[in-house]
């Protein structure tokens, strides 16, 4: 079994600030983290390593500093880490990203054929959930998104059974390998790095490939050129113009505050009262 986990290094968006004048993201000093959803995918892959002795390769596309994120994955127990980094990848949208990653996975498969690809449900900076399906489609892998649990896996029979979150319930799906799985949050908890793996990570050199090494013969399908979508404008969300009508409950009892609110509420929005007794 060979499992590839795709991860992305993202700015910790809880610490991101927007420049009040230029409306640009102020990244300075914002720590970079592994996209939290990807850690769920990594843990699931490591469990396959525990159970089935699967080989785990982590893959990322990004600037050179993303090697740090990949090293962390080695510390958690991944076997190999590959970073594809090249100026031709700059400005990739989800279609171009999935092209680059799928091409690289195909290249990786030449050395050790790939049975499964794991991705996080989505990233916290882009939030699109599109890269996973894009990779699956390009590789012709079965696409299993929003997976909460791997129920059964039989590498010899090339069979897998998963629980997939769907609208209004859970689908129990039987599928085949190779497949691509995106994992939803809450499915597992990432293990602690072991001492041995931490030492290994410290000495480990992340494999860096440019587009050629990654087996990409059509660089024009990557980056800005290969992206059908173009960002035309970035701006701060408009404020809801009205400021709240304030009721100061610190100088009144809770009951008085509640009565004041209801009086105001029903005077200005009489329909609400009907809504409440309906």
């Amino acid at each position: 079994m060979h499992v590839v986990v795709c991860i992305k290094q993202v700015p910790d968006s809880s610490q991101i600030r927007v420049h009040p004048v230029t409306n640009t993201i102020m990244r300075q000093g914002v720590p970079a983290v592994i996209n939290p959803h990807d850690l769920v995918a990594l843990e699931e892959a490591l469990r396959l390593k525990d159970r089935l002795n699967a080989r785990v390769t982590v893959l990322s596309m990004g600037p050179k500093m993303a090697a740090d994120a990949l090293k962390k994955c080695i510390a958690y127990g991944a076997d190999e880490a590959i970073l594809i980094t090249d100026s031709v990848f700059a400005g990739s949208d989800t279609l171009a990203t999935s092209f680059a990653l799928a091409s690289t996975i195909r290249r990786i498969g030449q050395d050790h054929s790939v049975d499964m690809v794991f991705c996080g449900k989505q990233t916290i900076d882009g939030d699109t959930a599109q890269v996973g399906p894009g990779i699956a489609r390009r590789l012709g892998f079965e696409q299993l998104t929003y997976v909460a649990r791997i129920e059964k896996i039989d590498p010899a029979a090339r069979e897998i059974v998963v629980h997939r979150r769907a609208e209004g319930g859970v689908q129990v799906l039987q599928s085949r390998l190779p497949c691509l799985i995106t994992m939803i949050e809450g499915s597992n908890t990432l293990r602690f790095a072991s001492m041995d793996d931490m030492f290994r990570a410290a000495r480990y050199d992340v494999i860096e490939w440019n587009h050629k090494a990654a087996g990409i013969e059509a660089p024009e399908r990557c980056g800005l050129k290969g992206s059908p979508t173009a960002v035309k404008k970035v701006f701060a969300p408009p404020q809801r113009s009205t400021k709240a009508e304030m009721i100061d409950a610190t100088k009144a009892t809770p009951c008085e505050a509640a009565d004041t609110l209801l009086a105001k509420l029903f005077a200005s929005h009489p329909a609400l009262e009907k809504e409440m007794v309906r």
Binding site: S13, V18, Q143, T145, P228, P237
Partner: protein, 354 residues
């Protein structure tokens, strides 16, 4: 010199015409986001002067017929329907095949899908197959008059910023929109649409993924949050899970539903499916009551569609007061029960019914 370069469309783009909405039909039920999208699609189609069409993919049964009729009531001029036993439950492969073939056949310029688990799974596969642009979770869709292209606005960086995205050289222009972001259009049962039966060659033998079972969410678990007219929510300011009872009680009295901010959902005070905001649910209630919630931007984007927002927060400078309709500065743990009491006194019918 005014160098206004006229955007000439790359060859062939003008062959693509019409606005399409994917109608999400699962186990006999249409997801309401489909109608919300038809409402929005109607505006885009009118602005472009083209037809609005619905695509219904489903089993060969009466639920599929009903979905086609409903699509017309909600504004579709025509309905393309693919019916087949293998389409009874959603699976990526047959649905992708059906939708991509129809798109190839009729060449719509815009294709909209709901940003549900089904819609996002399908949209990603379809856009990749068609090698076209896809913009996720849009909050606003407009037609750019100069380029006649779709200007799709979406939150980015967890809601801190908005960006407007165009797909200039590929068709169709694809976008997903979350439930409750667009308003529900009026349902007009006098409207009719032309229903066009389509055939796509599908066979169970070609589909590697089988559905073994479907475990529906327990009725009690199935949060109706996104569609509730009244929502009461709590945040970390409530101090602990025990105090969340006050939120649930008020919601129950009002016949509404309850939810919370992300930290509260992650701490397990409420179920994960009750998280409101950018990475949770978008709500559009008539009344939203937020207790002990700061009003961070990621929370705000999920509640902005509410008609009236009441915020209870002990900090007079909490960001939530910047967009609430009414603000009460005080301790939510004391004010929530007082509010429940005051309402119980005022709403005798419901108070008796409970």
């Amino acid at each position: 010199m005014s160098a206004k370069t006229s955007q000439t469309a790359p060859h062939g783009l003008e062959d693509w015409r019409g606005v399409w909405v994917n109608v999400e039909l699962e186990r006999g039920r249409v997801h309401p986001v489909s109608w919300e999208l038809l409402g929005e699609g109607r505006k885009l189609a009118d602005q472009l002067g083209v037809a609005l069409s619905a695509v219904v993919i489903g089993a060969d049964d009466s639920a599929t017929d009903a979905a086609c009729a409903e699509a017309a009531f909600y504004g579709a001029d025509s309905v393309y329907v693919v019916r087949h036993p293998v389409l009874a439950h959603y699976r990526t492969d047959p649905y992708t095949k059906a939708l991509t073939q129809l798109v190839g056949r009729y060449k719509p310029e815009i294709l909209l899908l709901g940003a549900t688990t089904l819609g996002r799974d399908l949209a990603g596969a379809v856009a990749t197959t068609l090698a076209t642009g896809l913009t996720a979770d849009c909050t606003e869709l407009r037609i750019d008059s100069e380029t006649r292209s779709l200007a799709a606005t979406r939150p980015t960086f967890g809601g801190s910023l908005l960006c407007t995205i165009h797909t200039l050289n590929c068709r169709p222009q694809m976008a997903t929109v979350r439930p409750r972001v667009m308003a529900m259009p009026a349902r007009d049962t006098q409207r009719t649409g032309q229903v066009i039966q389509e055939t796509v060659a599908l066979s169970e033998d070609d589909i590697a993924t089988k559905i073994l079972t479907f475990i529906p969410d327990a009725a009690a678990e199935e949060a109706q949050l996104a569609y509730a007219d009244i929502v009461v929510a709590g945040g970390r300011g409530l101090g602990g899970p025990a105090n969340f009872q006050h939120v649930k009680e008020l919601a129950r009295l009002l016949g509404g539903d309850y939810g919370g901010s992300r930290p509260v959902a992650q701490a397990g005070w409420i179920g994960l499916d009750r998280q409101i905001g950018q990475t949770g649910k978008t709500i559009r209630p008539k009344l939203y009551i937020a207790a002990g919630i700061s009003g961070a931007v990621q929370h705000r984007v999920g509640v902005e569609g509410a008609d009236v927002i009441v915020a209870i927060n002990s900090d007079p400078n909490a960001p939530i007061f910047g967009f609430a309709t009414y603000g009460i500065v005080g301790d939510a743990v004391r004010i929530l029960p007082a509010l429940t009491e005051a309402l119980r006194a005022r709403l005798p019918t419901r108070a008796e019914a409970i």
